[in-house]
């Protein structure tokens, strides 16, 4: 079974620029998560989708971050404009049962 796919793997941008990340979950997994992992910290949930609906975005900085999951499959996470403190690894995960989550390799974002 194919795992969670993410792209790009690495991205370097200047502050105030915009960036988008893409995630393709495991086939059939209804729940999709985006996490932010800052160096030296555990992953922090940004947004959770159930199919194409948002069930939790309480930790998403909505003034600059947005996410969508059209058709309940792939998802994109966008940052516009980026700040220095957005430098982190952005992890996508999916789940079939809402309990066990499978993570993608992540996108390492560096904002200069």
């Amino acid at each position: 079974e194919a795992g969670v796919a993410q792209s790009p793997r690495y991205k370097i941008i200047e502050k105030r620029q915009s960036v988008a990340f893409w995630c393709n979950p495991i086939s059939g997994h209804a729940t999709l998560y985006w996490y932010q992992q800052i160096l030296g910290q555990g992953p922090k949930l940004l947004i959770q989708f159930q199919n194409n609906g948002v069930v939790d975005d309480s930790q998403l900085p909505k003034d600059r971050f947005s996410a969508e999951r059209l058709k309940g499959v792939d998802s994109t996470l966008k940052i516009q404009p980026a700040k220095l403190e957005d430098s982190a690894v952005y992890l996508c995960a999916s789940s079939l049962d809402g309990i066990e989550q499978y993570f993608g390799p992540g996108t390492r974002l560096t904002v200069t």
């Binding site: 555990g42 992953p43 922090k44 959770q48 069930v55 809402g98 390799p105 992540g106």
Partner: protein, 116 residues
């Protein structure tokens, strides 16, 4: 507040020796607890989980974890460490929120270094 604590930033152990990575939690109700491992430039890999039943849970790569309700702990253990076990380990607890959905709260992580 619901939280997970991993009190050690780093654990050092010699290859062949037993290892323990500590985790304590604070959550209302019965906890669902997880351990994940992260290798450099990789995503998190699931190791094991506790939902109910036997307090000793066995997982991938020879790891196991012991759930202790009275101490609110879920320590990760392995009888004999390998150099290849060197990685970053995360403990997580599931919390439920309105609407019946779940999310994971992660600890800050513990770096395990196994020396030859």
């Amino acid at each position: 507040a619901q939280s997970v604590a991993q009190p050690e930033d780093q654990v050092n152990v010699a290859e062949g020796n037993p290892l323990t990575v500590k985790c304590t939690y604070s959550v209302s109700g019965n906890p669902y607890l997880f351990w994940y491992v992260q290798y450099p430039n990789r995503g998190l890999q699931f190791l094991l989980k506790y939902i109910t039943g036997d307090n000793l849970v066995k997982g991938s790569y020879g790891f196991e974890a012991e759930f202790n309700k009275s101490q609110t702990s879920f320590h990760l253990k392995k009888p004999s460490a390998l150099v290849s076990d060197s990685a970053l380990y995360f403990c997580a607890v599931r919390v439920r929120f309105s609407g019946g959905y779940n999310k994971l709260i992660f600890g800050a992580g513990t770096r395990l270094a196994v020396h030859p």
